[in-house]
């Protein structure tokens, strides 16, 4: 019972702050709403039996990525002027309508086919995830991600530097 209460309150919090990310006109407030979304998603990961992903979510997303976002927002000193409506007035209605259509369509598919009974006693501990990650199935992919991170590092410096 407690699990269900926690799940639905964190789900509501995540959805409400996600609406805040989209509806907010000041990008700094959007970033702060996004941090609330990420933290409540971390709680939901924990409730779904994935403590490793929950910790990773807080450390990588809320810790590293959002700090990067806020850092760039502060660095660029964006003026807080209102965004003009302009030709986007029509687009706004179309986007919201298409979003609702997408929710109804995919929601109907999930409602029709998504009745899986979760097996009991499932717990994705750090140990079991690490054993799979470092097994021969995923080891080379894992090593490839380190190359990806290195190239992203070099690329970010090369792009943001004024004259290399």
């Amino acid at each position: 019972m407690l699990e269900a209460i926690l799940f639905y309150s964190f789900a509501g919090l995540a959805l409400a702050s996600a609406v805040g990310v989209v509806a907010q006109r000041n990008p700094i407030l959007s970033a702060l709403s996004l941090i609330v979304t990420l933290c409540s998603l971390s709680a939901i990961f924990g409730l779904l039996g994935s403590p490793f992903i929950a910790a990773l979510q807080v450390i990588v997303y809320a810790g590293a990525i959002m700090v990067l976002f806020l850092f760039v927002l502060m660095l660029l000193n964006v003026p807080r002027r209102e965004e003009g409506d302009g030709p986007r007035g029509v687009l706004k209605g179309v986007a919201i309508l298409l979003g609702l259509l997408f929710v109804v369509q995919v929601g109907a598919v999930i409602a029709a086919h998504g009745h899986a009974a979760a097996p009991a006693g499932y717990e994705a501990t750090t140990q079991s995830v690490a054993q799979l990650l470092f097994s021969s199935r995923f080891l080379y992919v894992f090593e490839a991600t380190s190359v990806l991170i290195l190239s992203a590092l070099v690329g970010a410096v090369a792009l943001a530097k004024k004259d290399l």
Partner: protein
């Protein structure tokens, strides 16, 4: 009584849709980036929920890789935003139309 895993998929659907709508609605390029992060998180939630429903751990590994790609994407993307801001002095997505005919 606990919650059905299906409801986590519904939450993932809602968050993903909000991210898509945000990409269409927002004009500030950094807010558009944050909406992309929102979509990536919705996908992560779907992976974890399916992993839970199947009782398999592969979804957790995929979430790990998605997070890695998201971190790399954020670093490179924000560097591009800084370079764009330097050349045009604005963050409005409609101002960057050099490649558009």
């Amino acid at each position: 009584m606990t919650f059905p895993v299906q409801h986590a998929i519904y939450l993932s659907l809602g968050l993903f849709t909000l991210g898509v709508v945000g990409v269409f609605l927002r004009r500030n390029i950094i807010t558009v980036f944050m909406c992309i992060e929102l979509m990536l998180n919705a996908v992560n939630l779907a992976f974890v929920a399916f992993s839970r429903a199947q009782g398999a751990l592969d979804g957790q590994i995929l979430v790990f890789f998605v997070m890695t790609v998201a971190a790399a994407e954020a670093a490179v993307g924000l560097a591009i935003v800084i370079a764009l801001h330097r050349s045009k002095d604005t963050l409005d997505v409609d101002a960057f139309n050099t490649l558009k005919w």
